[in-house]
Symmetry: C2
Subunit: 249 residues, 2 copies
DNA sequence: CCAAAAGTGTTCCGGGTACACCCATGG
DNA sequence: CCATGGGTGTACCCGGAACACTTTTGG
């Protein structure tokens, strides 16, 4: 098995492998957790839904590669929070041979997608629930090992909402407590008590900041508008203490 | 930059990268958290301490590669729990060029190492604390970006002790509550109340199982010997509910 | 006035912390 | 009988869950 050595100085035992990034792009639309999927054009798995992704170039970081692939496949630069999830080993992933894939998690407010059938493959939001439930069942399956990767990503998102301000990554810059609660309910797939959630969210130090403005036009009393507490460039860096705990279920 | 394509069928945009595994091997000896380090024989960083690791072969999983490297560098097959930590991008890691490294975390009881100056590089246990504190300070630095990787690994270990039974991975198959507490104290670098810890550890369902046997010979009352609750092949899979929380500090 | 959603006050209770106290062994 | 560490009982207190109640808008 002879391979070109790209970098002088690396020992001859240095086998080279194709390295890809896959992106689990999550959003909350209509109170439901959704994931960004593409329909594959080429074999293997032509026509099957898959996570967006592609090969890492040698002169970019993993995160930059994930961001670049998102731009290439969606046509826009998505807002939101991007972080590495985990890496899936070279074996039993791609029928063409060994491939290492570094999965990334994107948590973003719902953003517009180019009209279906655009330049790349068909890209659209899909409800997460049937994709998780349909292990080998009724739901449409995902290509490669992407069902497993999606499950890992959703679990990471669920866990991180507990002890960080990451839920705000699903919202716009300003949002109501009810919108934030809707994010928690969608991601955790539970009902939360609006009154206790309100007290908890507004009472946690370093989490929310009142803008002084309110909503208008809706039915019922107007809601105060909040934003993520300032000096928090990355909502993942905000440690919620005490955490917002999900019910035992 | 021309590269050989190892697998027919992959698109020509598929750049190949050297992929390595690094292992953060943690243990608790004498009430102190320690990490397994090698002294590098070759440039770059010849003579500098580094995490053990090496290149991934195309026909093995990432975890298998990590386990293989451990055997090669320590001369023994270490016991304990091995899990993937995270992956460090191709840039600004190795002066020789882009390298992707998948870091793994090993939590193990203290195991013997071959006599210093054995077959591979000099491998030994080192206290973790000065390596974390000596950011750019007094402590001896680690090669490459290994100081950062070590910090990430220790933080993962600290977090996982809270809500899983992973602390038992540092112990033998049978251990006392005091030994288990010593693990928590070493990893978290705190003092814990022995009485409350005892109640908490023995009272958490699915965690500990009384063997019925006790220690003997030490000073004071003999301690009951426990083992990890059965049907728990992997202690990381045991969810502690409620968790053992580390003090705020 | 009524419906609906926002926001507050209050009660109950489980679990963590602090610490007094008893138990079992070696010397 | 004393020192040492193992193990239990208990009182206090904080924070989450449940839910009654008030506030503010539109119709």
């Amino acid at each position: 098995m002879s391979r070109a050595i790209p970098t002088p100085g690396l020992p001859p035992t240095a086998a080279l492998l194709p390295v890809t990034v896959d992106v689990i792009g999550l959003t909350v639309r209509g109170g439901v957790l959704q994931v960004l999927l593409v329909q594959r054009l080429l074999e293997p798995f032509a026509g099957v839904l898959a996570l967006p992704g592609g090969f890492v170039l040698p002169d970019e970081t993993l995160e930059a590669a994930a961001a670049r692939e998102l731009v290439e496949e969606t046509g826009v630069a998505p807002p939101g929070h991007l972080e590495q999830l985990r890496t899936y080993g070279p074996l039993d992933r791609d029928p063409r041979g060994p491939v290492v894939s570094v999965a990334h998690l994107l948590l973003a407010p719902a953003f517009g997608l180019p009209a279906a059938g655009g330049d790349a493959a068909d890209v659209a939001w899909h409800d997460v629930r049937p994709l998780l439930a349909g292990r080998g069942g009724a739901g449409r399956a995902l290509a490669f090992d992407h069902a497993r990767i999606l499950a890992d990503g959703v679990e990471r998102a669920r866990a991180k909402l507990e002890y960080s301000a990451l839920a705000t990554a699903f919202c716009g810059t300003e949002f109501t407590v009810a919108e934030l609660r809707s994010v928690y309910e969608a991601v955790w797939d539970v009902r939360l008590d609006p009154r206790n959630f309100h007290r908890k969210a507004t009472g946690t130090p370093g989490f929310l900041e009142d803008t002084g403005r309110t909503t208008s036009g809706g039915t019922g009393r107007p809601a105060a508008l909040y934003r993520l507490a300032e000096a928090a460039g990355d909502p993942a860096a905000v440690v919620l203490n005490p955490p917002l705990m999900r019910p035992d279920a």
